[in-house]
């Protein structure tokens, strides 16, 4: 049941306990208890909205930043990664295999603000060797959702 609940919530976190119960074939109480336990265990860390912010009219700039790091003798990458993660500008931090170490998503209200964060804060952190910043120009898909729907396609209203 937990697996099914997680699957359904990852698809749509706004499903009510009643809907989840129906779709998992168990009681509402059991669903509520399972969700509470998943939250308590830290398996579900939170719920957020997927935005297509083009229409929002706000200036939101996001960049993906590749960071090379010198691992610490004790604590490896974790210490630097945790430190970077503390900045509110930083949305995601992931340790990545391959040509660099950490991949960040950084958000700001303007290009200059993000650039300033990189040069003044991120790049000066002890252990950060180099950064490579790519600004996000357009989003097509996020968390399984297409940002642009296919054109409406008219189906028959009645058929057998």
């Amino acid at each position: 049941m937990e697996k099914k609940i997680i699957e359904l919530l990852c698809e749509n976190a706004r499903l009510s306990a009643a809907e989840l119960a129906q779709r998992c074939g168990c009681s509402e109480e059991a669903v509520a208890a399972a969700i509470k336990s998943l939250e308590k265990q830290g398996i579900i860390c939170g719920y957020t909205a997927i935005l297509d912010d083009r229409a929002l009219g706000e200036n939101r700039v996001r960049a993906l930043i590749e960071v090379k790091v010198t691992p610490k003798r004790e604590g490896g990458f974790d210490e630097v990664a945790r430190r970077i993660a503390k900045y509110p500008e930083v949305v995601d931090v992931m340790l990545i295999s391959g040509g660099f170490d950490l991949l960040l998503t950084v958000e700001g209200t303007s290009l200059a603000k993000v650039a300033g964060f990189v040069s003044e804060k991120l790049a000066t952190i002890d252990g950060v060797l180099s950064t490579s910043t790519g600004f996000i120009l357009k989003k097509y898909k996020e968390s399984g959702r297409m940002m642009q729907k296919d054109e409406e396609y008219e189906r028959l209203k009645i058929c057998f």
């Binding site: 129906q22 296919d150 189906r155 209203k157 009645i158 057998f160």
Partner: protein, 392 residues
């Protein structure tokens, strides 16, 4: 000849001009002129064909696979079909001689009937049923003989009732379970009795398995898998419902070689072969489509539970259908005929359902509601139906 008929009308063959047009054509025309209708009137999935299958179609075109295939269909596809039928239905067919790919299962039904009916042969079918069966039997110069299925039997075919309709002219029987429009399944016990009757009276069984993947309680059995039945069965199936591929038009028939050969003779002259692009997409459906198909099936089951509970709560008595994506509630409580109910519901509440009489006389007193539509729309439709019922 009727003197009032125009010159061109008089050219139409007798057995076609007497083919009954659906009496509820006017109702359907009305639905199609209205814009803000919530339609529970369709007979197809609300999903778009899974991307992997669509991509195979695109790939096929990109690579210029635009010529005919063999009459029976692409050998690769036939092999995959026979493996699929063996795995899921437990019947072994030889892909070289016992399988033919058709333009939807509709063509397969037409081929099968034309291949076996001599003029005047009677063909039995359970009713309420898919609209095409009686018409196709007539087009093949046969005589359609309905066997009524009843709500008190869960709309399963009653073997005794079937046997009472058998005459020396009975040639065949069409089965379609899970059933469009009732969503009924055949309990194994009934299916076994029907098989015994078919053997006893030497009847051929055409089994239309188009909804068989969408059987929610599990354990669907095809009559062709019962002992001694393969030789007297034509197994008809396709990709439309399970893989959400209605517009691709690809289906198939599996049957012993003499029957397949007879169907192939009609098919080769009338159709040549099913569209190549659709055959390649269908192959992908068998190779890669199972996960997506099971997900769609689960989604229909969830919506069934929700929608049928809603109908019953609103006061339309409805059995829990065991398969397909239709609910077939009774409208008897309103005192209206099926057609009157559907017309008033459409005009007053802008919800379209299909009058049960579209599926034969025995559909009177029922309407077919397709729940393969968005959950929000189903909720809204239920609210409107509940409102409508309050006026009775």
């Amino acid at each position: 000849m009727n003197g009032s008929r125009s010159v061109s009308e008089r050219f139409v063959a007798d057995h076609i001009s007497t083919l009954p047009k659906s009496g509820i054509r006017a109702f359907f025309d009305l639905v199609n002129t209205m814009d803000d209708v919530i339609s529970l009137g369709v007979g197809e999935p609300d999903f778009t064909t899974p991307w992997s299958i669509r991509e195979s179609g695109v790939y096929s075109l990109e690579h210029g696979h635009t010529s005919y295939t063999s009459n029976l269909g692409m050998p690769k596809l036939r092999k995959a079909i026979c493996a699929y039928v063996e795995k899921h239905y437990g019947v072994e067919y030889d892909s070289a001689t016992e399988c033919i790919v058709t333009v939807g299962v509709s063509e397969a039904v037409d081929l099968a009937l034309r291949a076996v009916i001599n003029p005047g042969d009677e063909v039995l079918y359970s009713e309420p049923c898919y609209v095409s069966y009686p018409a196709e039997i007539r087009m093949a110069h046969g005589v359609p003989v309905p066997v009524t299925t009843r709500v008190e039997n869960g709309f399963a075919l009653d073997p005794a009732e079937l046997e009472s309709k058998i005459t020396p002219r009975t040639k065949g029987l069409i089965l379609n379970f899970p059933c469009n429009p009732t969503g009924a399944e055949m309990p194994l016990e009934n299916l076994e009795k029907v098989a015994e009757i078919a053997k006893k009276h030497d009847i051929l069984v055409l089994t239309d398995e188009i909804y068989s993947e969408l059987s929610f309680e599990g354990g669907h059995r095809s009559i062709s898998s019962l002992p001694g039945m393969k030789e007297r069965c034509i197994f008809l199936h396709g990709f439309s419902k399970a893989f959400a591929m209605t517009g691709w038009r690809v289906g198939y028939a599996c049957a012993p070689a003499p029957l397949t050969d007879a169907m192939m003779r009609i098919h080769q002259y009338a159709i040549m072969c099913a569209p190549t692009v659709a055959q390649e997409a269908a192959l992908d459906a068998l190779q890669n489509g199972e996960e997506a198909m099971l997900k769609m099936r689960d989604s229909y089951r969830e919506r069934r539970d929700f929608f049928v509970a809603g109908l019953n709560a609103a006061g339309l008595k409805c059995l829990v259908p065991k398969g397909a994506f239709y609910a077939f509630p009774s409208v008897a409580a309103t005192g209206l005929s099926s057609e009157e109910f559907a017309r008033r519901l459409l005009e007053k509440e802008r919800v379209a359902v299909v009058p049960g009489t579209a599926f034969g006389e025995s559909g009177e007193g029922f309407v077919r509601c397709c729940y393969a539509t968005g959950r929000d729309e189903l909720e809204e439709a239920l609210a409107r139906i509940a409102g409508f019922l309050k006026s009775f």
